[in-house]
Symmetry: C2
Subunit: 248 residues, 2 copies
Amino acid sequence: MEQAHTRLIAHLNERIAAPDNTPLYLKFAETVKNAVRSGLLEHGNILPGERDLSQLTGVSRITVRKAMQALEEEGVVTRARGYGTQINNIFEYSLKEARGFSQQVVLRGKKPNTLWVNKRVVKCPEEVASQLSVAPQSDVFLLKRIRYVDEDAVSIEESWVPAGLIHDPDAIGISLYDYFRSQNIFPQRTRSRVSARMPDSEFQEHISMDDKIPVLVIKQVALDQQHRPVEYSISYCRSDLYVFVCEE
Amino acid sequence: MEQAHTRLIAHLNERIAAPDNTPLYLKFAETVKNAVRSGLLEHGNILPGERDLSQLTGVSRITVRKAMQALEEEGVVTRARGYGTQINNIFEYSLKEARGFSQQVVLRGKKPNTLWVNKRVVKCPEEVASQLSVAPQSDVFLLKRIRYVDEDAVSIEESWVPAGLIHDPDAIGISLYDYFRSQNIFPQRTRSRVSARMPDSEFQEHISMDDKIPVLVIKQVALDQQHRPVEYSISYCRSDLYVFVCEE
């Protein structure tokens, strides 16, 4: 950690000295983001205090504070009163808005990607049928995607949608919810069940990680304005990268 | 599983033949509950179909169905259309009502217990202070309890409560929320963050389990009517026994 701080200060001084007109607090914030991107700073690391940062870079405390505020607004750091500033490198899983995921990844200076593995009509399995309130064996779309951060797969998501709600699967881009909205379907409420287990062989096939890291399993039913189930999904997420959040 | 079914049928026939006036569907339901309690039936096991149960016990299908409905209402089984009847032996963690936990345990034919490990005033740690909106190092109650099902510890829960909200810690029984209500404090909203990790040595000290089972970590802030934080809690739960549920 000490060494990371020393290197961060070196990067900061280098960036601050660069002859361009970028405001100082932005140079500062940008350098911290790059340090997270490169892995120099990791989730949970605490940054040096504002006073130290100011003294070691010759930048005023007001500017340091402004940089920290900007980083906090972007979700790159968390600041707790009197506790210091902590790197936040975890993705929050809440509503299944692809934009939510992509935004969070981009804000951490990384590149999000979503790969559709499957978009096809299947006979609805019994467990899913009861969640979607459709007849077992009726036609449903199975949408399966893998989410990536840079080159690393971080989660697998399977969604089942009653076939009548999707007219053109090719029109579904990164966000299933954007497609829903284009069809005047507005998912409003979500019921979630969150559990954990060790990765199975199928998960490990897609996602290479230390097999000592549990998988967070999130099962959600999304309901539209008329409380009609429009999607049932099961997401398998690396628990070292995701936290499930909800407010009720 | 086949063997479990054979033994279940034997227990059913024995109970049905017993010379007492308990209605048949209750004898039936009671026998299934006892089979869960004894471990003969486990979470996720699927019961024989209604037709088979009827034929193998000589009890009418209407009575079998009535028994299944009673078990479903008590949360002992889950029935999915066309899928059959599945044993449900998982505890749902939602609002932190002790009654919720106790009820769920009792309904599964088991004995709940809560052991207070700690009820004392401490200086508020920084992480907790920011969640409770109190000054770091101010006085807060730390309440720590271990929950048991029969003889087995299943979760550890730590709660922090601003000291001013608890006048008599000895008056806190199994349910902190009952105590809150007696003080005219009504927790209304909850913010939750759910993650998973492998059990650490402290968890394993209290809870003996296969160390391949992850721990579900649930962090919650409870807010009262005025949106004032009244409790911050961190619960560590066996992930083979708990699922976190929420609706938003």
